[in-house]
């Protein structure tokens, strides 16, 4: 748009012949760009802006969804009633809680404490057995090392075949030659 407005004055500029006319018709587009270069000193708005930011964040992403969820759980699902355990009935894990949110979490998120308990009992049992056998092993090894009286870790097996051959040869020779 600015270019187009310059076209006619430029054309006029080119078509005139006399220098005096040139100077009087000369038109240049003046751009009023910017203002005086000044640094405006104002008090900071940072903290107020941060506060509004945080408030907005925590209300819309925290308070509102959680409030809706908790209201729904307490009004439309409702807390459970306390009652006696019927005869011969084993309540499930989630039936030990009153709040519907806790019941949901016990059903779908957390593991039953009974399972964890039994698993730790199993681990303790296995490790206890391992410990027992390890201690027994060590005791037997120490005794064998001290007494050196049992065919175990500290017994060195020798190869008997050579001695057997020597014995045979000796007996054969004795039969032939005699032992003198």
């Amino acid at each position: 748009m600015v270019g187009m407005s310059l076209l006619r004055p430029c054309l006029r500029q080119l078509l005139i012949r006399s220098p005096l006319q040139k100077q009087s018709i000369l038109q240049v587009s003046v751009r009023h760009a910017g203002h005086e270069r000044k640094m405006v000193i104002i008090p900071t708005k940072f903290e107020w802006t941060q506060f509004k930011n945080d408030l907005h964040f925590y209300i819309l992403l925290g308070l509102v969804p959680m409030g809706l969820l908790i209201s729904y759980a307490n009004m439309f699902v409702g807390p459970a009633e306390l009652s006696d355990i019927p005869e011969g009935y084993e309540p499930k894990e989630y039936e030990y809680y009153q709040s519907p949110i806790k019941r949901w979490m016990a059903k779908y998120i957390f593991e039953e404490p009974m399972k964890e308990y039994e698993r730790s009992l199993h681990t303790l049992h296995v490790e206890g057995e391992r410990r027992y056998w390890n201690m027994l092993h060590k005791k037997v090894k120490t005794l064998m090392q001290d007494r050196l009286d049992y065919r175990g870790w500290y017994w060195v097996d020798a190869d008997k075949s050579i001695m057997d051959l020597q014995k045979e040869r000796k007996e054969y020779n004795e039969r032939l030659i005699g032992n003198k």
Binding site: N74, M75, F76, V77, G78, P79, A80, E81, L82, S83, D84, I85, P91, E95, Y96, Y97, Q98, P100, R103, Y117, S120, L121, L124, H125, E127, G128
Partner: protein, 168 residues
């Protein structure tokens, strides 16, 4: 109700017992309380009453053999005894807590009269706290059953060796 009211104190004008001030306080309380109560009683509770189908129960723990009936170094039996000990400790701690709370409330309410009006509660609490300390004092939280057993053994031996001294 028609009896002798001359010993009861009447509201004194200008103090906190003045009826005007009491009514203003009540009004302020109701300004906050009324919408909440209305919401709960007229909206929430009918909805909850319509939806009662779920029940919840209190957990019952079976009794397991205590540590004096376990073999030496039987980790399973000792673990179960420890867990049972911890549960019993929680129960006893709560009992002592409630007794203590009763005593404190009595003392706070009675003020200067507490020395002779709260004696019974104080004695009960002191006895309960002493017994708690005898059983559970200075012992580890989660692995304490053997320690408690040994503590009891040492205490009985000491009592036998010092028959004249009363411990508590």
């Amino acid at each position: 109700m028609g009896g002798d009211d001359s010993n009861q104190s009447k509201p004194v004008k200008g103090s906190i017992t003045d009826l005007k001030i009491q009514n203003i306080a009540y009004g302020l309380f109701r300004a906050v309380d009324a919408p909440v109560t209305y919401f709960r009683e007229n909206i929430v509770e009918p909805l909850q009453r319509r939806n009662t189908s779920e029940k919840f129960y209190h957990r019952k723990f079976k009794r397991v053999p205590t540590v004096d009936q376990c073999d030496f170094e039987d980790p399973v039996c000792i673990y179960e005894a420890d867990q049972q000990f911890f549960r019993d400790k929680q129960v006893d701690s709560n009992i002592v807590k409630f007794l203590r709370q009763r005593m404190i409330e009595c003392i706070t309410w009675e003020g200067p009269d507490s020395n002779y009006k709260c004696m019974k509660l104080q004695d009960e609490y002191e006895k309960a706290a002493t017994n708690w300390f005898i059983k559970y004092g200075d012992i580890r939280t989660h692995k304490g059953s053997i320690e408690a057993y040994m503590k009891q053994k040492h205490r009985l031996i000491w009592e036998r060796q010092n028959p004249d001294v009363k411990l508590h």
